[in-house]
């Protein structure tokens, strides 16, 4: 007597991924399984990115002014790109990047694909909050509703 094959086990819940951006010129999200949340900013962080002070590199950058420190690159990256507009004579170039622009570095990823962040279910984009007005043309007259 043969036993019927067992159905495949359901996939385990996908672990929360580390949300830090790595890289200097070529940015990308770390993506390793997170070990916990940073006590300061609350973002999920993997063991690789947790500093000795228990904070993520973005939060502990105040102490990482030496290039020998693991998290030095994060603080220096921010400083360098904040100073870039003075080099290019534009004060709007770097500040024009937001989280969605950074998501563009992730193929198929980002807040849209994960339905998280500002675009999670129930936000004003899907109209599910019952707000028929807002800034969008809900009645089809070609004018923005007030």
């Amino acid at each position: 007597m043969t036993t019927p094959p067992m159905p495949p086990a359901p996939p385990p819940n996908r672990p929360v991924a580390c949300s830090l951006l790595s890289g200097f010129f070529v940015l990308r999200r770390c993506g390793r399984p997170a070990a916990g949340a940073c006590p300061s900013c609350g973002r999920p962080v993997c063991p690789e990115h947790f500093g000795s002070d228990g904070l993520c590199p973005e939060c502990s950058r105040q102490v990482a002014d030496s290039a020998y420190h693991r998290s030095w690159t994060y603080g220096y990256r921010r400083t360098h790109y904040e100073n870039t507009p003075t080099v290019y004579g534009s004060s709007t170039w770097y500040p024009s990047f937001d989280q969605n622009d950074r998501d563009a570095f992730e193929p198929g990823g980002g807040d849209w694909a994960a339905a998280s962040g500002d675009f999670a279910g129930g936000s004003e984009w899907d109209g599910s909050d019952g707000d028929a007005g807002g800034d969008w043309d809900s009645d089809g007259d070609g004018l923005v509703d007030s």
Partner: protein, 246 residues
């Protein structure tokens, strides 16, 4: 035997660290992750070595180590990173080039002008986006040795140096990567050239002449010149961009 304990400590250092201390230069190509051991060894230098003669050159801490850190961030752990650094300074016999004698008149007896070319940092890195980055920081120094005789008959020698620093970065893109001129355009002191190769690859080159007065500003200048090459390749459009444009 003097400095016995220090000598033993020196022998325990990372091989490239020891070479940097003893010869003021090294050249190696290693997987990106393997450079972390050198950085860790350099970080502990002050605890192990106190002898002034064996101090790490200033540029190692101000430029070479930060560049290693930055490039490691953009590389896969197994990708190769090649670094050649020579921190002996420009006025070394094997860096001297063209030399000539200038015409003089009394009280100057002779002027000898020598040019030195010092490529003190050369880097090749295989980045995780498939492109290959090559970087060279070259100091070119004009040195004039002036010999003159004063009215008492005493002969004196004076040396004048005029340095100039060039940063050259080259990025060889993988096949098919799109290139677009960025806005705003690069500042006037930064030259960018785009070359389309016959094999379908694009090569971006940026070069600039930068200040030599402050070594601590060199890192920022190198990163600005290198970063210009990455402004020419816009990030790939993701689902976010596609949906937003509908």
């Amino acid at each position: 035997m003097f400095w016995r304990k220090q000598r033993k400590a020196l022998e325990r250092l990372h091989p490239l660290h020891r070479q940097l201390v003893e010869e003021r230069r090294f050249s190696a190509t290693l997987p990106s992750a393997d450079w972390t051991a050198l950085v860790a060894s350099l970080a502990a230098h002050g605890q192990a070595i106190t002898r002034r003669k064996w101090q790490v050159p200033d540029r190692a801490a101000s430029t070479v180590v930060p560049m290693l850190r930055v490039l490691q961030e953009d590389m896969e752990p197994g990708a190769f990173l090649g670094v050649t650094t020579d921190l002996r300074g420009p006025v070394v016999s094997d860096k001297s080039g063209e030399s000539r004698t200038l015409s003089v008149r009394p009280p100057i007896r002779s002027v000898r002008e020598t040019f030195y070319t010092d490529p003190w940092l050369v880097v090749r890195a295989e980045l995780r986006d498939g492109s290959v980055l090559e970087l060279a920081v070259v100091d070119r120094v004009r040195q004039r040795r002036i010999v003159k005789k004063n009215r008492n008959g005493k002969i004196k020698t004076k040396t004048k140096s005029k340095p100039a620093r060039a940063v050259r970065a080259t990025r060889r893109l993988p096949k098919g990567m799109a290139v677009a001129e960025p806005a705003p355009r690069a500042p006037g002191w930064l030259t960018v050239r785009v070359q389309q190769k016959e094999n379908g690859r694009t090569v971006l080159r940026a070069s600039a002449k930068v200040s030599t007065h402050d070594d601590h500003r060199t890192l920022g200048q190198i990163l600005t010149v290198t970063g210009e090459l990455f402004r020419w390749t816009p990030p790939r459009a993701s689902a976010a961009t596609t949906r937003r444009s509908r």
